[in-house]
């Protein structure tokens, strides 16, 4: 992609996304140095809010943004012409159709191509945003995707707090701090079951470190 084509995306992040993420919200970031700046890599994050994608992308410097490709729900991000344009041009999503109207193979191919191009995929292995910021069962697609391109590292990332800033079905952002905890990269050069266990364990231990999560049992 040429420099000129990257400019609108960089301006969008510089003028809108970064101010919202760093000034309106606030981030507690753990182990930022573990964030891969080069692909092929997959960021495997838990999903609480539509802000997740933007917050994770905002962690990257403007010059590296073009490498980050979120795999995001088509029914939300492509719901009208404006959001479609925004999502495809300014955010650069790979649309994933959760209702299964788009061929799964096609999404998989796009993801593989991105990895082959040395890009960084942003994936939410829970499949959908969970209820009340609880970790949902992880899907195995991420393992097969990571296997599809040799040398792909999978970086687990736990986030907490954005579900309060913009919960499911919410339409306005309320300022809250959020935690972003980055784990050590995992390799998919192993069997599926142990890999998924490692990913699950990593996300759980990262979540336990989140400052804003200590309230989890209050409503019991």
């Amino acid at each position: 992609m040429s420099v000129i084509k990257r400019l609108p995306k960089q301006l969008f992040f510089l003028l809108i996304v970064k101010p919202v993420v760093y000034l309106l919200l606030g981030l507690n970031i753990y182990n930022k140095q573990r964030l891969p700046s080069q692909g092929p890599a997959i960021l495997a994050a838990n999903h609480n809010s539509h802000l997740d994608t933007l917050v994770l992308m905002a962690l990257y410097p403007l010059g590296e943004l073009h490498r980050v490709r979120p795999v995001a729900a088509a029914d939300y991000f492509l719901r009208n012409r404006f959001t479609t344009w925004l999502s495809l041009n300014l955010i650069g999503i790979i649309p994933l159709d959760r209702q299964g109207q788009v061929d799964k193979e096609q999404v998989f191919e796009q993801c593989q191509q991105a990895l082959a191009d040395g890009q960084i995929l942003l994936l939410f292995p829970e499949g959908s945003r969970g209820e009340a910021e609880e970790l949902q069962p992880l899907r195995k697609g991420i393992y097969h995707l990571a296997r599809s391109h040799a040398g792909t590292q999978v970086v687990p990332i736990a986030m907490h707090g954005l579900g309060r800033a913009l919960p499911k079905g919410g339409s306005m952002i309320v300022p809250f701090n959020a935690d972003v905890a980055i784990g050590e990269a995992l390799s998919a050069e192993q069997e599926c079951a142990p890999f998924m266990d490692q990913l699950q364990a990593s996300l759980e231990s990262l979540l336990a470190a989140c400052i804003t999560r200590r309230d989890a049992r209050w409503e019991d």
């Binding site: 507690n28 970031i29 809250f176 400052i211």
Partner: protein
């Protein structure tokens, strides 16, 4: 003093001098840090470096705002209260149904500082303790969730009182009639309060490290000792008396009282936030300030010293 620049109009020579002394102390800290490099472990050195760098940034931001003028200072304190309130709400067990009320409470921050900026003392002093006190439960009532109602009312009111109402007293010092305090002006009062509060934290820490033995409140903070507490309060009281004639309208014997008040209140404020963190089982309230933790970790003492010093000053002088 008008030294011919478009800013710094509110700074008296004493105040400017006090600021330079603070900068000199920071330079001294940075030099000490470099000298200690070989004697500290890698991690210990990095932490010390982070802490001192953060002090530079904090002092830089506060001094810049104070030097530009009252409007810039009010904007600075508005942002400070906003970040502190957001931090408090972020660690509190907030119910998702309460988001609208939380949003409304954020709007109370600029309003409170607007009253300060207008110099409307009556509104400044009742807005949060009276009006919000009555409105918060009403707002929660309208949201219709009764489970956890009492806890929500109490914790939101407390968060707003500590981070907005208490901290706005620092800003109101700038609105007190400057002619009453020719030595230091409004900025001098702010520096006196904030410097002594932070100095008290450091003094208690150093006395505790050097001579600390018997723990004072082991259940809340294992690091607080009788020696740290008494030594710190005594040092702060002494400096309160020394600095009072220089920066405030208080004579030295009232400065003793102000110093004692700041020493005691700072200790209690520090412990209060420690108890909050114990309850929530967290170590820091956020990671905003490298080496220090969150904003609440830094201004915990100020939440207690600011209103007490303000009213002591108003009662004795204004």
């Amino acid at each position: 003093m008008d030294i011919g620049l478009p800013f710094m109009l509110d700074l008296t020579p004493n105040t400017l001098c006090a600021m330079l002394v603070v900068v000199a102390m920071l330079i001294l800290a940075s030099i000490t840090q470099l000298l200690l490099r070989s004697r500290l472990s890698e991690d210990g050195y990095l932490e010390l470096k982070q802490r001192i760098n953060s002090w530079w940034v904090m002092v830089g931001v506060v001094f810049t705002a104070l030097m530009i003028g009252p409007t810039a200072s009010l904007i600075f304190f508005t942002i400070l209260s906003f970040i502190a309130l957001r931090e408090f709400f972020s660690i509190l067990p907030v119910r998702v149904t309460d988001r609208r009320l939380i949003l409304a409470l954020y709007l109370a921050v600029p309003l409170q500082y607007y009253w300060v900026g207008m110099g409307w003392y009556g509104m400044f002093i009742v807005f949060i303790p009276v009006y919000l006190f009555l409105l918060i439960p009403f707002g929660l009532l309208m949201l219709g969730e009764t489970k956890g109602f009492i806890r929500a009312v109490g914790s939101y009111q407390w968060a707003t009182m500590t981070t907005v109402f208490a901290i706005s007293h620092v800003a109101y010092l700038l609105m007190l009639p400057a002619e009453e305090n020719p030595a230091g002006g409004g900025v001098g009062l702010v520096i006196y309060l904030v410097f002594l509060t932070q100095f008290n934290d450091v003094a208690q820490y150093i006395w505790g490290k050097k001579f600390g033995n018997r723990k004072i409140v082991p259940a809340i903070s294992p690091n607080k000792t009788w020696a740290g507490f008494l030594g710190g309060v005594a040092t702060t009281t002494l400096f309160g008396a020394l600095l009072a004639p220089w920066l405030t309208p208080l004579p030295w014997w009232l400065g003793l009282g102000a110093g004692l008040l700041i020493g005691l209140a700072g200790f209690i404020g520090d412990l209060t936030v420690s108890a909050v963190k114990r309850d929530l089982r967290i170590k820091d309230t956020s990671q905003l300030i490298p080496g220090h933790g969150g904003i609440l970790d830094r201004i915990d003492s100020l939440m207690y010293t600011a209103p007490l010093f303000f009213h002591f000053l108003v009662y004795t002088t204004y």
